[in-house]
């Protein structure tokens, strides 16, 4: 930023005050969402780690897809959930086939399918489901949960704007990271370097998260005025027209023939999922979600009628700008457009974002301390929130693994216990780091010992847990050694 473009000191101070206020009000919630979101990037891998016993399906051709859809529909019909059936085909990253059936009221149930297309009970991955819901809604009932998360995304956006504008030394300190001296300086350097260098990522994730969370509310408001209250028209403009209801009975669509027709139109097309709307009626529609490599949307939607006649494509890859943006939102938010390597990149950048939030509050608290207004209890509470979350998530996973207990009560019990205890425990950070190390190590070892079959993904996650445990123990050991070092003459006191 040039000197002329730099805001005055007064404006900077006000922007910093704004930045701090957003941090104080929303900091803890932003932290919860960032941490769970970073982990949710690899939720498919966690599901395979948690339930390696689910049937593995490495590929699904037209015949298997057709058979699986028919079997899934039969089971859904028996359960009176046959309004719409969704079939997720296996992908290289997630070699599982699942079916979801929905009735007209929105009640639903899921199943797994094996390599022969037979429907088997869903291998429920409780902890992974908990993690996904935690990030999506914070477990608050619909529609408020997702709106709250959207609002948190917006507050993160506001924080990014004010933080960027208030950063007077954006170029001067661009490559500096000072560590080990003043705690405030170290945290400020880390906060600013992560904040500035990964700004495009933070901005994209916050914006897409905000829109995904508030989409139903925003579309409702926009439709009220711009579409004269016709919400269905607004939704159809983006997501495509729904099937036209015609309840007269019709034969189940020949999915194998439809997939072959797709292959004729686009040779080598890989079907990622199938959606059957108003099944076995004359108004039925088949939507094939087809992989679209080289596009951010990751997939294109092809629609066919019940007789296998091609109706059209949604246009996620080559339609108008609006539909293409719609298709990009989820892949851009969760990093699902570039395979496992990109997921790891997203995980690292997401954890960076989590660190950004954690250090933000630490800077505020350290500044109070430097000003002689130390707030010991709030420092401990913040440490309890930051270092307590990994403990709560790990204990929830241990509970699911050992006792099949539901993850949600375990998570909240641990979180609240840590929050209540933290103001009274002097070394809360050290205690929680030790507990994290123990919990991660125990989880990794127990999972290795108890869960069969051992998969590559499972082995990788268990190894990662053991590495985390070792890393935390090393960190604690290093700190203890450093604390025992004699104070050198001339060492500055602050």
């Amino acid at each position: 930023m040039t000197a002329s473009a730099m805001p005055t000191r007064n404006i900077t101070r006000q922007l910093l005050a704004s930045h701090s206020l957003v941090g104080i009000v929303f900091g803890a919630l932003i932290y919860l969402i960032c941490l769970s979101g970073s982990l949710a990037v690899v939720a498919d891998e966690f599901e395979q780690w948690e339930r390696p016993d689910a049937p593995v399906v490495t590929g699904a051709g037209p015949a298997l897809l057709g058979l699986s859809a028919r079997n899934a529909y039969s089971v859904a019909k028996a359960a009176r959930l046959d309004h719409a059936v969704f079939l997720s085909a296996p992908t290289p990253e997630f070699p599982r086939m699942t079916a979801l059936a929905v009735d007209a009221k929105g009640n639903h149930r899921e199943w797994n399918l094996d390599a022969n297309g037979s429907v088997v009970p869903r291998a429920i991955a409780s902890w992974t489901t908990f993690l996904r819901e935690h990030h999506r809604t914070l477990h608050v009932p619909a529609p408020f949960g997702i709106w709250i998360v959207g609002l948190i995304g917006t507050s993160l956006l506001a924080s990014l704007f004010s933080g960027l504008l208030a950063h007077r030394r954006i170029i001067k300190d661009a490559f500096r990271l000072r560590w080990g001296g003043s705690k405030r300086l170290a945290n400020a350097d880390l906060h600013n370097r992560i904040g500035v260098w990964a700004l495009p990522f933070h901005f994209i994730v916050a914006l897409t998260g905000s829109l995904l969370g508030l989409a139903s509310l925003i579309i409702l408001i926009l439709a009220m005025v711009a579409f004269k209250g016709d919400t269905n028209r607004a939704v159809a403009a983006i997501a495509g027209a729904p099937a036209i209801a015609d309840p007269r009975p019709a034969p189940f669509p020949n999915l194998g023939a439809i997939v072959r027709e797709l292959d004729r139109r686009q040779p080598g097309a890989r079907v990622e999922s199938v959606q059957l709307d108003d099944v076995a009626t004359r108004g039925q529609q088949v939507r094939l979600v087809v992989a679209a490599p080289g596009h951010l949307t990751r997939a294109e939607v092809w629609s066919f009628d019940g007789n296998g006649r091609f109706l059209g494509r949604l246009g996620l890859t080559d339609g108008n700008v609006g539909v293409r943006i719609y298709g990009m939102l989820v892949p851009l938010h969760f990093g699902t457009y570039g395979g496992i390597i990109l997921k790891i990149v997203y995980l690292v950048l997401g954890l960076g974002m989590t660190t950004l939030v954690a250090t933000g509050a630490q800077i505020l608290l350290a500044r109070r301390r430097d000003q002689g207004r130390a707030s010991l209890r709030w420092e401990r509470v913040w440490d309890g929130i930051v270092w307590g979350q990994p403990v709560a998530l790990l204990v929830a996973a241990l509970g699911v693994l050992l006792t099949a207990a539901p993850a949600l009560p375990l998570y909240w019990t641990v979180t609240l216990a840590i929050l209540i205890a933290s103001p009274f425990v002097g070394a809360i950070r050290a205690v929680l780091r030790i507990v994290t190390a123990i919990a991660a190590g125990t989880l990794g070892l127990l999972h290795l010992a108890m869960i069969r079959p051992v998969s590559d993904v499972g082995l990788a996650i268990d190894t990662m847990l053991l590495v985390i445990a070792a890393g935390f123990l090393l960190m604690i050991g290093h700190r203890r050694v450093r604390e025992r070092l004699p104070v050198q003459p001339g060492m500055a006191e602050t």
Binding site: L21, L157, F161, S210, V321, G338, D370
Partner: protein, 184 residues
């Protein structure tokens, strides 16, 4: 081929960061170094887009640049001697009630006021922009949270509460009224 292109692209990003760092150190060849860094980044972008297409290549360039830069910064971390913290005590600060009241009003009021204004602008865009339905909706959908965040920053950073709030409410009323008139 894709793997090779990706590796070369990461190398180009690393070179770009290195050149940027050299320019940052106030080397006398600063302009040349900055130009070199820019060229290296353009090559990285070209390689990513060649390997994965333009849509995927652009975010990949930005994301890998962030990681490469941070790894570089970590490799140049300045370790400092630990410092003993001496407790300092400031004289108790007398906080006026006004400050708390102001903070509460700011905290509670900034969000809704900013939301109303940003929604007004979004609705006006969705109503009047000469674009396809889906494009108008999606762009308005992206505008609303972005403007909401920016407007919240504006209100929270303002010394005077009334002025920005009144301004934003004015924007909301004008834009929504215009949208309603246009629709009718």
């Amino acid at each position: 081929m894709t793997v090779l292109l990706s590796l070369v692209a990461i190398c180009c990003s690393s070179v770009a960061v290195l050149l940027l760092w050299m320019a940052w150190r106030r080397d006398h060849r600063r302009r040349r170094l900055l130009a070199g860094s820019l060229i290296a980044w353009v090559i990285a972008l070209t390689l990513w887009t060649t390997a994965f297409g333009l849509e995927v290549g652009i975010p990949l360039t930005l994301e890998t640049a962030a990681i490469v830069a941070f790894v570089f910064i970590l490799s140049r971390i300045e370790f400092r001697t630990p410092r003993i913290v001496r407790e300092r005590y400031a004289p108790p600060v007398v906080r006026s009630r006004n400050r708390w009241l102001r903070g509460t009003i700011l905290g509670v009021g900034a969000g809704p006021v900013a939301f109303t204004a940003s929604t007004g602008v979004g609705v006006l865009f969705a109503t009047t922009a000469p674009l396809a339905d889906a494009t108008r909706l999606m762009l308005a959908g992206l505008l609303i949270p972005s403007l909401w965040g920016a407007a919240m920053t504006l209100v929270l950073a303002s010394r005077r509460l009334l002025l920005p709030s009144a301004g934003l409410l004015g924007v909301a009323i004008t834009t929504i009224a215009t949208s309603v008139m246009v629709v009718r």
